[in-house]
């Protein structure tokens, strides 16, 4: 043992190779073993966010999702794409395609004969992706509720978008003004004019707030044609 020369080139290389194989093998194994559990957690999380955006609070998330939510996809012209389940679409990938090829997911929640339309949102915060769901009342311009999430925003600042105090502000706000222009705005904290389309932002999280505005104004107008066809078909 005492004769082991830990400074020779051969030893160094063998040590590194063994270490990397052990560490890599262990992590790969751990990742494979836990993948089904993690996928299930992510599915549960996504579906509970969709339900949360309509302020539904049950415990049987998957069962309730299956019975209450209908997922479909629409194109930029507002036509429903047949045979596509909106939940299976990856929103991030769709937004990278040219506009004419995109499929936008829509989730319809039926509650006592009334329909709520839930749209997925995706955008950029300060450090990484922010995303969420926004649900509309039957008039198609008043928000019923929202559920946001993020990948790496700063805890206590940008990450506050996942907290109820922030999300509750969106309830009942209108996205379009009387002329049909997109108007919803998140302001700097304390600067909000308290109108029916204004939301108080988070102090110290200016870039996340800006990202929030960009996310809404990028995503929601894509559904304008779909909402128009819904209105005319009524």
């Amino acid at each position: 043992m005492s004769k082991l020369n830990t400074n020779s080139n051969g030893y160094t290389i063998i040590f590194l190779v063994i270490m990397v194989v052990i560490v890599g093998g262990f992590l790969a194994g751990a990742s494979i073993v836990t993948k089904p559990i993690i996928d299930k957690n992510i599915e549960l999380d996504n579906k509970s966010k969709i339900l949360k955006s309509v302020q539904y609070s049950g415990t049987e998330v998957i069962a309730d999702y299956n019975s209450k939510i209908e997922a479909l996809a629409v194109n930029a012209k507002g036509e429903i794409i047949e045979g596509v389940n909106g939940y299976d679409l990856i929103v991030k990938k769709e937004y990278k395609k040219p506009e004419s090829e995109r499929a936008y997911p829509v989730f319809i929640y039926t509650d006592g004969g009334k329909k709520n339309y839930i749209l997925p949102l995706i955008g950029l915060g300060l450090w990484d992706e922010i995303n969420g769901y926004v649900s509309f009342n039957e008039d198609l311009k008043t928000i019923r509720g929202v559920a946001f999430d993020h990948v790496g925003e700063t805890p206590g600042l940008g990450a506050e978008i996942t907290k109820d105090w922030f999300q509750d502000q969106f309830k009942g706000k209108t996205v379009y003004d009387k002329e049909g222009n997109y108007v919803l705005t998140v302001y700097k904290k304390g600067k909000s004019p308290e109108g029916e389309s204004d939301i108080d932002g988070i102090s110290g999280a200016t870039l996340t707030t800006d990202g929030m505005n960009a996310m809404f104004s990028n995503c929601i107008p894509n559904y304008m044609n779909y909402f128009k066809t819904l209105k005319t078909s009524k």
Binding site: T6, F15, P155, S203, G204
Partner: protein, 212 residues
């Protein structure tokens, strides 16, 4: 036993990782905007420092000197990734809450600082205790800064995994014109606070004053 006790108590004061060793300041600036964040980060760093100290110390006689830093980093990253996978699989909500902290732990200077300064030259059990001690010393400073920043920046106190916050500023005070101090919310505030802490700490401990 007294030597072991010192391993835990020293870093709390005379050898504090932040105010004396000046390590781990970067994360102390970033995550101290509330008490809840400070506590979570403190616990996470304590665990990782103790575990990696133990692992590195156990293999210290086999690590080739020239690549010891690489080996240390691999061990830290391995432990942190393993914990992150386990959190995602078994406590998904907690893993979302911790998201950025996990990355911050890998880059935390205290972890590597203790590996270099202590674990490479000492036996596993003392190294483990040294990790716990330094993690606690880090947590103490984080909690002090976190409490001050949260009270003056947001007027609240929060605990991890408790949605309800404790509001400390009465409405009457707000009505007569009290405002939260905006700078306390930003990381800038913590550099002033940590600076003041270092100052107070040194002026009260004559052994820390460098006379040369």
């Amino acid at each position: 036993m007294s030597a072991y006790d010192k391993l835990i108590t020293d870093p709390l004061s005379v050898n504090n990782p932040i105010t004396v060793q000046i390590l781990g300041v970067c994360s102390a600036l970033a995550v101290t905007s509330s008490l809840a964040n400070a506590l979570v980060m403190g616990v996470a760093v304590t665990l990782v420092t103790a575990m990696s100290n133990f692992t590195i110390s156990a293999m210290r006689n086999y690590i080739p000197g020239r690549i010891r830093m690489i080996v240390q980093l691999v061990v830290i990253a391995f432990l942190v990734t393993l914990v992150s996978i386990a959190l995602k699989a078994f406590v998904y909500d907690l893993s979302k809450e911790l998201s950025v902290y996990v990355g911050l732990i890998i880059t935390n200077c205290i972890v590597m600082g203790r590996l270099e300064a202590y674990a490479m030259a000492n036996k596993p059990i003392p190294s483990f205790l040294d990790g716990i001690g330094n993690g606690l010393g880090y947590t103490v400073i984080l909690v002090i800064v976190g409490v001050i920043r949260e009270i003056f920046g947001s007027g609240t106190l929060s605990l991890p995994f408790v949605e309800q916050k404790l509001h400390l500023i009465p409405q009457a005070l707000t009505d007569i014109g009290y405002q939260n101090n905006g700078i306390m919310v930003l990381p800038v505030a913590s550099i002033f606070l940590i600076g003041i802490l270092v100052w107070i700490h040194r002026s009260r401990n004559s052994e820390l004053v460098d006379i040369s």
